[in-house]
Symmetry: C2
């Protein structure tokens, strides 16, 4: 298998795009990634689209064909779906195809247009990421599932609502000045604690928003990439767990994350000490805490304390979500995995707005549903010899 690299990145602003369609968003993200790479559109040999639920949000399936159409590409084009991890799954499959020589240049676009339906309809659509028969049909919303996780984490480990809130405060702080973020402003801990309750203990400020947006990356084989400005794909892993929470050994652990991280670290030959920044899936504040733990950056149960002690700040032990995370960037579900890769690539190029100094390797954790799918990607400035 050949080494592969990200050589082009792009995205739309994330937010509520009332005047733009899914088609428009895919076009902008795809073309901006192509332009950033400096390659010609004609060099692209495969198109990989990450999208969770355009069927429900926009009445449109067949997203690969839609993207090929709007981008003027006549190459194999398919859609990849694993709920909120759809973007990362598209990315992984593209990397595999390029690594094995099926293609030399691939475009991956993640996209979701969520605000063209009513909020209750969107909440129902998102519940389709969990278990329809055993969870959604019983009335368990997505916020409800994460509230169960949060409540159990508080019970078992003493995690506090304040610690959850600090995740949101940190991520909003990081988003200030991010031109692509839906909510590029700071909030206080008091804002979080006083926000309306969504699913106890998660208030409005513990939840990522409904968002329209798209992001894209160009992936090439090593021989092409080394003549360009490459960010290397050092390792990638994908893990699985039961779809419904009731099937898990523990609801405060995501075994899918542990499997994905193990695979990604093994493939990269790196250790967690090598990683300079993380993008961690904070669809709800509790998920960032659980993610930090399951990635191995602190012990199980210590994630709340880890955040409270300032270890996830830019000058802390491991800078997390320098972009603003899902909470402040917004969470167009199919786009998020690609947006995370775009933001880590910006860090590794040294061109990030909220730049971490001396970073050599970065990691993304993208979660599908309440943890039934997890994808970890490790990206590097230089490949380990």
């Amino acid at each position: 298998m050949r080494n592969v690299a990200v050589v082009g990145i792009g995205q739309t602003k994330f937010g509520e795009h009332w005047d733009r369609s899914l088609r428009d968003l895919i076009f902008e993200a795809g073309m901006s990634a192509i332009k950033d790479s400096g390659l010609e559109k004609e060099q692209i040999q495969g198109l990989y689209v990450g999208n969770m639920s355009a069927g429900r949000f926009a009445g449109q399936e067949h997203l690969g064909a839609l993207a090929a159409d709007v981008l003027g590409l006549r190459v194999p084009a398919s859609r990849f779906e694993a709920a909120c991890a759809s973007g990362s799954v598209a990315f992984r499959n593209a990397c595999t195809s390029v690594a094995c020589g099926m293609e030399d240049v691939a475009l991956v676009v993640g996209a979701e247009k969520m605000t063209d339906v009513s909020t209750p309809a969107a909440v129902l659509s998102l519940a389709a990421a969990g278990d329809q028969e055993w969870e959604a049909a019983c009335g368990l919303t997505f916020a409800g599932a994460y509230a169960l996780i949060a409540r159990r984490h508080m019970h078992d480990f003493g995690t506090t609502k304040e610690q959850l809130g600090m995740v949101a405060v940190e991520n909003h702080k990081n988003a200030v000045g991010n031109p692509y973020a839906q909510f590029p402003f700071a909030i206080t801990l008091q804002d979080v604690l006083e926000a309306g309750m969504i699913a106890d203990p998660l208030g409005l400020m513990d939840c990522s928003p409904l968002t329209d947006g798209a992001a894209g990356v160009i992936i090439t084989s090593e021989d092409i990439a080394k003549k360009m400005n490459p960010v290397w794909v050092a390792g990638s892993g994908q893990g699985a767990d039961s779809l419904a929470l009731h099937g898990r050994k523990s609801i405060t652990e995501m075994d899918a994350t542990r499997q994905a991280a193990k695979t990604a670290f093994e493939k990269s030959g790196l250790r967690k000490e090598d990683i300079g920044a993380l993008e961690v899936h904070d669809c709800f504040t509790i998920n960032e805490i659980v993610g930090i733990e399951d990635l191995g950056f602190c012990k199980k149960g210590q994630g709340g304390r880890f955040v409270e002690d300032g270890k996830i700040s830019k000058d802390g032990e491991i800078p997390i979500n320098m972009s603003g995370g899902l909470k402040a960037c917004g969470h167009p579900v199919g786009a998020t995995g690609i947006r995370q890769i775009v933001d880590i690539a910006r860090q590794l190029r040294g061109s990030a707005r909220n730049q971490v100094n001396g970073i050599e390797h970065g990691l993304t954790l993208n979660i599908g549903g309440s943890g039934a799918t997890a994808v970890v990607n490790i990206l590097s400035r230089e490949l380990k010899k």
Copy 2:
């Protein structure tokens, strides 16, 4: 890249399964493929699910995780979508992963549960395979799109409604005795011509039905396969065209099919004369005629005459849809591409109910939407030296 083979096949009966869920269908298809292979479930390293629209049909996305859950697999699991070509796209990605050594054994399941919603809701959902903004929103149903293709084919080439009808008659004849088929009975040309009109010139008997069903295959690398009962994947190709009909050079030609066939034949090193049987996507009768032409088995415009002359019969020039095709087997959209592969594998194993004698190579053509995606797979008893 390593050679890969299909070593296990299975499927549910196709039909209206009022008493069974999507979960049940995936379980039966997956387990029957595993059992057929003789491998242990623990040997499976990746799970690939083809599904078009469970979000709309069953309120369930995240189909990879659902399938992993119900099958008791804890391996990377994702869903692949390209409308009615979803099954084939899942198959292609699985073949790539096994060929390049990411995995040695993969399970591919295609599934769709279409009858739990009202027929108008199903028709709306299927329109999501075409162009929502430029076709569906203007009222163009899927039958309508194929009716436009049929009408133009009749105008340009003199194709007759009787010739369209003969496609349905042939496919129903082939389905007689097929225990997996939704409609395993013969019909007459008069039945087709007298059926209620759906979208002129396509009557009810020119249309494949709404169907529940699932099909599965096990794919392994060459070293494992050669100790088993392998059907080799000799070549695979995927093509793309504009999503809406108005973007095509011609609406009676599917350029996606031509690209897919070209790639698949080149990779296999075979010519059309080597192929002993086809499974051709007959979502509407006109599509089988167009498919035969674009695959190169007759000249453009001659497909209707080709059918009328009996060349697609079991004892004809090239036996097509010995299974009964989508028309008589039924068309659970995400399952169809896998079901086609299962039926060609039965032919190549020599165990088909409607067996073609002396067959060495078979081909599947699976179309997404009105031709924006096409996948061609060529399967062989023995790999060409």
